[in-house]
């Protein structure tokens, strides 16, 4: 298990390094995608809370 976790973390670390090595312009585009995803998640969360309000 420990070996599996270490390998998983090593792979994750390598993946993160590869993301950091992307061209600057590509990372800026990714940041924009992140903002849009955040907004969509927030909007979905708000919609869900609205649905879950007890009806009167």
């Amino acid at each position: 298990m420990e070996r599996y976790l270490k390998e998983l973390l090593a792979r994750q670390s390598a993946w993160q390094r590869s993301r950091a090595a992307l061209p600057w312009a590509e990372k800026i585009r990714l940041a924009k995608v992140m903002i849009e995803a955040q907004r969509a998640l927030r909007a979905g969360f708000d919609d869900r809370r609205e649905l879950e309000k007890p009806s009167r």
Partner: protein, 158 residues
């Protein structure tokens, strides 16, 4: 704006500059340090905003929308930001060259502003090996931030 004399110098900083060195991070705007001919007063940003609007960009409060991003122009506000702007490097986005604050100066500015997101920026830059602990220790001492650096080191680097 440089050619028109509206600004004397500029450099991208904040999260957009950070992404030159680290993974992509979520940010709501792009920050640009600027040197203004007559000083760093916020009211004096008006010529920048007027220039941008005259060239077809729309203003959003204190920001100007450029493509998908609200861009904030921030006058260099202390000796550190002045050095950071003066010693900025030239980066390139889609073939367009633009001046961008160096990693060590980004970390130093973050150390001086000291909000949680600034601490995260320093840690990201260290993690990406864009700067080293030793470099930042020396730089912070040179700029009178040795105590802030010690606090940061104790809190986040053990």
């Amino acid at each position: 704006m440089l050619k028109a004399g509206v600004i004397l110098d500029y450099a991208v900083f904040g999260a957009i500059a950070q992404m030159r060195y680290t993974e992509a991070v979520a940010t709501l705007d792009a920050d640009i340090l600027v040197a203004i001919p007559t000083g760093g007063n916020l009211v004096l940003l008006r010529p920048i905003l007027d220039f941008c609007v005259a060239h077809g960009y729309t203003s959003e409060g204190e920001a100007i929308r450029v493509g998908d991003w609200p861009v904030q122009f921030i006058p260099a506000f202390n000796a550190i930001t002045e050095v950071a702007m003066r010693e900025a490097q030239t980066g390139e986005i889609d073939g367009v060259p633009l001046r961008v604050v160096r990693a060590d100066h980004l970390a130093l500015i973050a150390l001086s502003t000291a909000r949680p997101k600034d601490f995260a920026r320093i840690l990201s830059l260290l993690e990406a090996k864009a700067i080293t602990v030793e470099e930042l220790a020396k730089l912070s001492a040179r700029h009178g931030l040795a105590a802030e650096w010690q606090r940061f080191r104790r809190r986040f680097l053990g």
